[in-house]
Amino acid sequence: MTLPINEALILSCILFSIGVLGVVVRRNIIYVLMCIEIMMNAAGLAFVAASARHGSLDGQAFFLFVLPVAAAEVAIGLAIALLIFQRYKTLDLWVVARTKEA
């Protein structure tokens, strides 16, 4: 029973590209955060696929390390997003960026 390893890797590439596209295109902080999550998840998937290919569990252990990183990032990202929403009344990055005080 051959595991769909190559296909999984390709799937992770697709998800990764969608995540990248999302970050580059969307202007809302929440969406960008989500897309970063997608990218992280895709990478995790790639890791699991890779560990399946080599039969060693390191990849899966690595996936378990990726999760808390993603979680922490989201936590802080959303906290900052809240403050920005409260201060700038919007979550649109282009607005936040342009209002430079200088």
Partner: protein, 179 residues
């Protein structure tokens, strides 16, 4: 065989839902799509013979992180009304260049993948016992660091979040930390 069918199903579902996350206007829908995409990925894990990870993904990823998202989106009631610029879908014109770049990235990586075709070995079943043992012997430093990361995440969330809770009017003039 069963794995493959399951895999293809999950793969299609994952791609569909993830692309919907990027496209949809309404933030809540986006979060829900993301949760469905995570489920799809969990199914893929199953097909890759890693049931424990699938569960972890659902519980931790979908359960914890996505709930956090949902909570924030609800709180800021980002319904994606017509007027709100932030959640407007990017116009066709804005999509061209980034889209082309992302597509090129995909093609390049896939091309490089297909070139290398290492033999597919029989995947060892990743039962939690083996994984746990590996984690706490070989990668114990990793676990420690993950713990630290979570701790920092919480402190950060607390510290910055605390700033937000104080309504702006009553804001205490904080002695400006080194600028």
């Amino acid at each position: 065989m069963a794995q493959n069918i399951l895999f293809y199903l999950a793969a299609v579902m994952a791609v569909a839902t993830t692309s919907m996350v990027v496209i949809t206007r309404n933030a809540v829908y986006a979060v829900l799509y993301l949760i469905m995409s995570l489920f799809a990925v969990a199914l893929v894990f199953l097909s890759l013979n890693a049931p424990f990870l699938a569960l972890v993904e659902i519980i931790v990823y979908a359960g914890a992180i996505m709930v956090l998202f949902l909570f924030v989106v609800m709180m800021l009631n980002l319904q994606g009304q017509r007027g709100d610029e932030a959640t407007k879908r990017p116009t066709r014109r804005q999509m061209i260049v980034p889209g082309a770049l992302a597509l090129l990235l995909l093609i390049l990586i896939v091309v490089s993948l297909s070139a290398g075709t290492p033999a597919a070995t029989n995947a060892a079943l990743s039962d939690p016992k083996l994984l746990g043992e590996l984690l706490f012997t070989k990668h114990y430093l990793g676990v420690k660091l993950s713990g630290i990361i979570l701790l920092i995440g919480t402190i950060g969330g607390l510290h910055i979040g605390r700033g937000g809770s104080i309504p702006s009017t009553m804001e205490k003039p904080i002695d400006d930390v080194t600028h």
